[in-house]
Subunit: 168 residues, 2 copies
DNA sequence: TTTAATTAGTCAATATTAGTCAAACAAAAT
DNA sequence: ATTTTGTTTGACTAATATTGACTAATTAAA
């Protein structure tokens, strides 16, 4: 992972608070793979409204950037930012997701899962779990078009989950 | 028996008393499969009102989480928390499917998957695949009622798959 | 057997967080 | 100059935790 500055400014005359908050969080993440913050604390530290923390997280700490966010509301609530490590097979995942598109039938979906298994990306048990999750009998959606749409989403969701692992 | 939570694999420094009580009870449960507490004692230990113990038990020690609760009022009353071992009892698959019914929200579904992981019925990776398959963001079904129905079917489908895998 | 004491359960009000969304504003691009 | 994109703000929403008044069950004492 590089930590180079995004294109816009190597010139540090940056009075964009969101960038400062981003840098603040990334500095802490240099120490640890995962941090927990209290939204209101960070907001106060930078004198911004709490929802700006959400903005920073949504724009700079999303999955594409290599972070997973978890949070909890209520007393003792928190936002956790965790850095993830991407697996090798990104291109394969991209291609598969491309093939799936936004609709896929059960036979094709099974083929894709089978291929992942044969490529040692997933185990046999994982393959079986995935197959059962998208089977026609499991979904039981009357409208074929909707069924294929939902199946595509589930399959893409699971494949996206294979992209990364937490921790080191 | 895993002690780390899937979503909390790091040092967790939050000030939420309910979480502390949960951890306190789970620490004791590491020794024994079943414990008996006196509600008022635990409440006093953590300086909370007694009914908060009920809150902790209801939210963290329900069947979905792999625990059975029994209690008795009156003099010498108690609350017993008993850990259920999923892998030991086919029956529990039935109970889980019963709990799921034909509709389930994402938080409850995640709890069930988490419990299956903690009881070594599924691996961490399998748990994460399952969670992503039923997540709100994956399904993206506008109608909440339909979403919960589809989620229930997917989860039941996957759990049934695990049942047939039993005994490798 | 009746009553008192001793437990746990329920439920709703309140408190404490984080999330969403769209409007206002600012900066960059055309 | 205008349009497009990114940032900041705050009103409203949602989730979770905490508290306490009231209820219910059980045992102990009168």
């Amino acid at each position: 992972m590089k930590k180079e500055n995004m294109s816009e400014n190597n010139t540090n005359n940056n009075n964009n608070v969101s960038d400062l908050i981003e840098q603040y969080l990334k500095d802490i993440l240099l120490e640890d793979d995962s941090i927990e913050i209290k939204r209101s604390d960070v907001a106060e530290l930078f004198s911004v409204v709490p929802s700006q923390i959400n903005y920073v997280i949504n724009t700079r700490f999303n999955l594409q950037n290599g972070y997973i966010i978890e949070s909890k509301r209520g007393g003792g609530g928190y936002i956790r930012i965790e850095r993830v490590h991407f697996s090798q097979a990104q291109q394969v995942f991209d291609d598969l997701i491309d093939v799936i598109g936004d609709s896929i039938g059960q036979p094709n979906a099974n083929q894709i899962i089978q291929a992942l298994y044969e490529d040692d990306v997933i185990t046999l048990r994982e393959a079986k779990i995935m197959i059962s999750s998208i089977s026609k009998d499991t979904l039981r959606i009357a409208d074929k078009v909707v069924e294929n749409t939902v199946r595509a989403r589930i399959l893409v969701g699971m494949i996206n989950r294979l992209r990364y692992e937490e921790g080191q």
